[in-house]
Symmetry: C2
Subunit: 389 residues, 2 copies
């Protein structure tokens, strides 16, 4: 059983008392302040995780500020006010108490100005705008972490969100990825996550401290790019797994396709960033997130429907029907990855990635996902520079 909020508060009070008795100084100036930028489903869960830890750990200021993109609820109330009154994000994470020390703030600049640690968790397409607004408005010594999955992959390579944050704001940025279905973590089901860091192991440990709980096991690896790319590329693998489901090929085939997908994720990441480590793909951000995404998830679901219809109904149509306005990230990522592969002459090295895109645009039938015959070397599983696979 996870300790209750009351237990946490009592533990911390006791520790503070002990520290003071022992001559330690716990001043407001010396504690680390955390702001979560974003308050959707995953952002709210992140705030809950963090808030349970800031209460327990002396080195952190109890209060966690959560920037809320203000909305007016059907009741006429403001979302931020309801969150602060009820301690619940009634719109994006109803039924879950965030912790009384989570404070919603709809003013971005005021939310971030005192933060030592900035946690970014917004839809990826908003980050460019948010970064622009934050230039010069944050502490120069702030540290950032991105929980944002799904970057844009441009022809010259992936546009990493962590790099965007670092470059625009002039601060260091880690990432946190993994098999993280927000609603399951919200109800404290056991899960894991991976922090990717660049150089500073102490900062990585601080992030681990801030996120780790008895039901959320966090590990740090020195590989920002590897961890971050996993969060995007897995959606392409999920489409492949969905096709296999739609074709009713069975668990054997699905397992094989997931394995080949993970292998191509690894090779693609290593070809683009030679610093990427093989071991990263054994972490939660790698294999575990591939498994979760290929078992559940909307990319898999729509791809299954696509294959069941023999590719005769487009992804746009299925998306509109099945996802209530949400967009499928996998389809656009597959297209972007395909462009990179074509641009660099690597198409034949990545039979799964390239086939997924060609199925999405109806150039190939869904059955092509398992046609790795020796007669079509284009889809050969054994081609390519061995060191990357």
């Amino acid at each position: 059983m996870a300790p209750s909020l009351e237990d946490n508060i009592n533990n911390k009070s006791n520790s503070i008392a002990a520290a003071v008795a022992g001559g330690g100084i716990i001043g407001d100036e010396m504690t680390t302040r955390v702001t979560v930028v974003g308050s959707g489903n995953w952002g709210s869960v992140a705030a809950k995780l963090i808030a349970s830890n800031t209460l327990k750990l002396n080195s952190f200021h109890d209060e966690v500020i959560m920037w809320v993109f203000e909305e007016i609820l059907p009741t006429g109330e403001k979302l931020s006010q309801v969150i602060n009154r009820t301690n619940e994000n009634v719109k994006y994470l109803p039924g879950i108490k965030l912790g009384k020390n989570v404070v919603a703030n709809p003013d971005l600049e005021s939310a971030v100005k005192d933060a030592n640690l900035l946690v970014f968790v917004t839809p990826h397409q908003f980050m460019e705008g948010i970064c622009k607004r934050l230039v010069g408005k944050i502490r120069a010594d702030a540290e950032a972490i991105s929980l944002i999955k799904g970057m844009e992959v441009k022809r010259e390579g992936p546009c990493m969100i962590s790099s965007l944050i670092s470059e625009q704001l002039g601060i260091n940025c880690c990432v946190l990825m993994g098999a993280n279905i927000a609603n399951e973590i919200a109800v404290e089901k056991f899960s894991e996550a991976t922090v990717g860091y660049r150089k500073n192991k102490e900062i990585a440990d601080k992030w681990v401290q801030l996120f780790n709980t008895s039901y959320f096991a966090v590990t740090a690896v020195q590989d920002v790019e590897g961890v971050e790319l996993c969060g995007t590329l897995k959606n392409v693998v999920a489409l492949a797994a969905g096709f296999v489901d739609g074709l009713e090929m069975g668990n054997n085939t699905k397992a094989a396709i997931m394995r080949v997908g993970l292998r191509e994720m690894k090779a693609f990441s290593k070809l683009l960033f030679p610093s990427v480590k093989d071991s990263t793909f054994f972490e939660s951000c790698g294999i575990a997130d591939v498994i979760t995404t290929c078992l559940g998830g909307r990319n898999r679901k729509c791809a299954e429907a696509f294959a069941r219809n023999g590719g005769k109904r487009s992804f746009d149509e299925l998306e509109a029907e099945m996802l209530q306005g949400q967009k499928l990230q996998g389809v656009s990522t597959a297209k972007e990855v395909y462009e990179v592969l074509r641009h660099r002459g690597w198409l034949e090295l990545f039979p799964l990635f390239s086939t997924v895109h060609e199925i999405c645009i109806s150039r190939l039938p869904p059955t092509a996902i398992v046609e790795y015959s020796e007669h079509t070397p284009k889809y050969s599983l054994v081609g390519g520079p061995a060191q990357f696979f």
Copy 2:
């Protein structure tokens, strides 16, 4: 589409004609003869795969001998005779044509005496007896491969089937493992497998040639122990995954448990055999077989039932009810692995393996599978000599 048997025969006839015309000699003495020792579900599928390739490849003798443990069918006929008349293993793989060049032979000694390649695919408990019977009865230059999953793990370490064969018969022995549900491969659904070899890459390539088809993609890795241990240890992970299913913890938790399981498989194998490679666990025998076994499979299924009953009905009872006489390999492997861990003082390094056994014997409740709390360092995910994990 896979080429038909007729196509294969025609192709090979043409190639032989071409070779003869070009001055090549294709003599019966020079071709490699294959015998499959075993004719159960997986053995029959292996014979089918091999027989489709020996027809196509000039270096192999067309005929594949399959040793059949003779049984009298309800009709009064002998199983071997029915296989040879109908070209089907009516008892263990009904409805699937094995290829006309598969010849069932109930006499073990006569089945193996001329074989250059011996494929062992029997239940593992029969191998000791079979090896004893084969001493001095096989060609001295024969090469062997074991498709047998599930070895016994004795206190002093695993009793590898490949070592048993090598030591008893004085011949080299490779292994073939992977995400291989026999009935799915029998109907030619896409799948993969991994050959583990010790030193001789040429022999490994020969095995790949013999097994690889358009729907069965085989890769060779120089790591017999790693590949072989995967085939046994995955059953312990499948029990853990089944507990999670029975507790209805969701995909996130299941993915995390599968990942931790794969990680312990890797660490356990490397601690016992320092030559074991990390990369082996990215192959079909590793991650893909873990996925297949944790999605389907009888270990997962019985463990789910065990957890649903809160551990109140024993595995013996569930086995008897659910498996029609088959035994659960995972439960005994978990016990054997636990003994090794206890004997070597490694229990705390393997929280998942040790917890699975303690749940099986009702020392812990099924919910313990996800209790990796910081308050119980025994189950800490981050302990242990880092280089092995």
